[in-house]
Homo-oligomer: 218 residues x 2
Amino acid sequence: MNDRPEDAPQRRSKGERTRARILDSAAELFSRTGFNAVSLRDIAAHAGMTHAGLLHHFPGKEAMLLEVLARRDRTDARTVFPGIVRPGTPARASDRLRGLVDLVVRNSRTHGMVALYTKLSAEATDPGHPAHHYFKERYRVVRAELTELVGALRAEADPPADVEPAVVAVQLLALMDGLQTQWLLEPEAVPMEALVRAFLAGLGLAPDDGAGRSPVSA
Amino acid sequence: MNDRPEDAPQRRSKGERTRARILDSAAELFSRTGFNAVSLRDIAAHAGMTHAGLLHHFPGKEAMLLEVLARRDRTDARTVFPGIVRPGTPARASDRLRGLVDLVVRNSRTHGMVALYTKLSAEATDPGHPAHHYFKERYRVVRAELTELVGALRAEADPPADVEPAVVAVQLLALMDGLQTQWLLEPEAVPMEALVRAFLAGLGLAPDDGAGRSPVSA
DNA sequence: GTCTATATCGCGATAGAC
DNA sequence: GTCTATCGCGATATAGAC
């Protein structure tokens, strides 16, 4: 999934480095075919071990999935929703909106991460899926954060935008998810960044940077 | 998946009835956990047979999946995209838009059908998935049909709507898909019909019926 | 900390009786 | 048209050597 390992492995014990390597492999393979279709042997082979070696570091397959998800969110949420990671951190609404668009751009370059979340969020709608509660809570939090963001944007906008924050939040989140499915099937047909920008612009909420020069570094 | 069997089983040979019963069971189970996680033995037990009995009617698991999908589309596409089923059939754009909203309403009542497509479309983004080409083509066709529909609506609208049909088509399809994922996780938080109507209204493309009395019979 | 070896299970698919 | 029986495979998981 990741184009590069998640956490720098230098200053860690051997066990921690091995754990990280295993999670990298699991994330990579889950992103290809989802959770159910990946075996411990697949992950072990990708990480250069046997499946028995894996189970020395993790109690089972489910535990690995949940760690993969938690690690990814820890890394990714910082940009758009600093409130999740460091509550109380101030950030201008327009900056956060630009961060959101940057996230879309970054997603367009990391097929694996998009595939991971698309497949797992769909699988996890099943109440019996190990990640069901994780995704339910994740969507709740993201909707709340987006609602707050849209509310702040509405106040900053000139002219003031006539939008209902909670409605736009659900729609925007749904739009981004749905675009990802189509983009995975046929990337050329779905320019995600432009389509998200067009949606925001239609509401009078366009980010205040140039459409072409959005920095991906964020 | 279906709250009721797909085709009325009365006037059919025993073989055809058995086939239909098997497909009902397969659809039901695929809608719960996707394709990969369901076994032939699961389907057989649900249909009241052994897995060997299944394989008298279908050459394999893949063939069953593709038949489930094709049967569902055959039934469902008629309402919104008569062009798919009977090319050349004329239908006013506003009627087709109402048909689309009715489809959203009907989906809100059939959890299983929504779960089936949400899980399978996500799984099928994997190029190696048996339904990959099916979904790729399906999205192409639906995007084209929606583009045509939005174009026709733009012409009929009063005042004329300022929208780009191809852009709105991708966005609308993505919105509906994304809403379904959130709705499956937490139905109360996602009133799909209202959110789709709000999106259309924002573009000046609202369907011309009352918001509350949309008939589901379509 | 990672290995080999093994136990136990369920899979998709086939062959052949009835 | 459906069954039982069986094949070959790969799954998760455990035990114990090194």
